[in-house]
Symmetry: C2
Subunit: 331 residues, 2 copies
DNA sequence: CTGTTAGCGCATTCAT
DNA sequence: ATGAATGCGCTAACAG
């Protein structure tokens, strides 16, 4: 046990080579003789050397770090994205620096600033960057930036996502095609959920009874929201929820009240969360490919780091509706 | 839009002071005259300066970064911990560097090495550090390390958690006190779930029909596990699951089969996940305080960074059983 | 293939 | 209260 952690100088000394040779043996092994490489390897082992990436990054301008900013960790719909991002980056030796923006523009701007200060090699933001100031500072940083989970016609840099408005329209169109008239919406309060709900309502001329759910969108609030909605609209035939968890709450509350789904009430969710196929009845929902978005974001950033020109800076990953029992489907 | 991001030198120039005065105006504002401070502030604004924390950290040995290593992001039981950790750290200006160990000792060791290399001011590991080599290297790094979510009698450094074995024993004792004889267990395959199941089985002399669920522990696998268990033990009276999601799957499968819970089959889960109180029937479970563990870990690390001696290096946060309808309770 | 020189951007000595 | 020098640990140039 040494008091001072070993530095590259110690390794070089132990291996009997110069500092830079040791550096190359580790970072660029091909341009060093096999013998030297081996001696350095042994010296590393002997000294317990762990490279100081702060120093390396300062000099080389590559910190092998990517910043990820997410509205809230508690919102499980973002987890698949985060996970794909983390593991794809890790595979290339990059580590994720995590920040929570808390659905608060000022907080987001502050988080992005501290991120930039840590000199990541790229930044992934879940959602669109909200303040103009933050957008400017991101641009000025010159870093690759990917806004994810939502599409922007004018992204800070790159964008990977899907249209929430179109998701809502698709659901609205589906409800219309089913012939339901007395419909309702249960919507999360965040901007993207609202956007989906807007799209849905538009299919019914914009006038639809609605319950808004403050975060977190959990089972309990889904139950309460249905209760609320039924007071507003006792003849409710079908309800569109902005998350599968809310839909699951609706199923639960309906069951507790003896309302049959889908015979008395049709229900749909959003997210194709893993449980949604296995509830009773299974939940009709919209699938979006979170892992794919994470992977794409990782790829775009890696490509940019390696100087590859990115052909497409806005990627629409789309979505698709999955019809299940909760709206009369068979799956 | 400048091509080169502004450095402290640019700020100093713009403010008409020396580099170090600018540095102090930002990092140590009290020891600088109010006038100077204001001029520097304006220069910062004008230049769009964002401090390079790699450089600052290299010199000052404080990176304002804490590493967090988690088995898998997809395991939702760890999210409350992560969230509390992230937000508590953010409040003090620290950012979380996230790593996934993937339930793989070699991977864990590798992740920890790259973490150490990034010179964090502390490291939080969910679970016990698995390899001796990693433990040694962590010790040698001299960094504050908190192992969380599990207790260790011989932690690398500090430990905040609870005894999984005792959780199992408590559940076993509870089942015994209810007079159930034909009991079964549905257990996740990770070491901690197994430990809880061991504790449970011990209360029944160790011989209990069991289904082991590979990750992820989701609703579907809970359903299948019950089906499996019922083949082994058709007379099953009560089943103990290592997560609420599995328990929820059991409820679902039971309902699909016309098995009444709790009359025909009692069920318990683990984690007091937010939905568990609101399913029908509500799920008897074990509550552990994830956020508290996250907060404690953050506090221990912050304290250590500030040179405060930590009085208690192993903290047992305990747990408690919450009796609900799925085992005949009333909540 | 290897070594020498010179910084990366900042904060910690010292000095004034 | 301010400033000048020095070096954190490493790598990109260039040389040999």
């Amino acid at each position: 046990m040494k008091l001072k952690p070993a530095t590259l100088r110690d390794v070089a000394q132990a291996a009997g080579v110069s500092l830079i040779t040791a550096s190359r043996a580790l970072g660029n092994p091909d341009i060093v003789s096999a013998k030297t490489r081996e001696r350095v390897r042994q010296a590393v082992e002997a000294t317990g050397y762990i490279p100081n990436m702060l120093a390396g990054g300062l000099k080389s301008k590559r910190s092998l770090t990517v910043a990820g900013v997410i509205p809230a960790l508690s919102v499980t719909e973002f987890l698949p994205v985060l996970q794909a991002l983390t593991s794809d980056l890790a595979r290339e030796g990059y580590q994720l620096l995590l920040g929570e923006a808390g659905y608060d523009p000022a907080r987001e701007a502050a988080v992005l600033d501290t991120m930039i200060g840590r000199q990541p090699d790229g930044i992934v933001v879940v959602g669109l960057v909200q303040t103009q100031r933050a957008r400017d500072r991101l641009r000025r940083s010159g870093l690759p930036v990917v806004e994810i989970w939502e599409l922007s016609d004018r992204p800070v840099d790159m964008s990977v996502g899907f249209s929430h408005l179109k998701v809502g329209s698709a659901l609205g169109g589906y409800f219309v095609s089913k012939g339901w008239k007395q419909v309702g919406a249960i919507s999360g309060s965040d901007p993207r959920a609202r956007l989906r709900t807007e799209g849905f309502k538009a299919a019914f001329g914009g006038h639809v009874p609605m319950a808004v759910v403050q975060p977190p969108s959990n089972l309990e609030r889904g139950r309460r929201a249905l209760a609320e909605l039924l007071e507003q609209a006792p003849g409710l035939e079908a309800v569109c929820c902005t998350s599968d968890m809310l839909a699951s709450g609706v199923l639960t509350e309906a069951r507790a009240r003896g309302i049959r789904v889908p015979q008395d009430l049709a229900v749909c969710g959003f997210g194709n969360t893993d449980f949604s196929a296995h509830t009773v009845p299974s939940i009709t929902t919209v699938h979006v490919d979170g892992p794919e978005m994470g992977r794409l974001a990782a790829r775009l950033i890696m490509d940019r780091c390696r100087g590859k020109a990115v052909e497409q800076s806005v990627v629409d990953v789309g979505f698709h509706l999955i019809e299940r029992e909760s709206t009369g489907g068979t799956a």
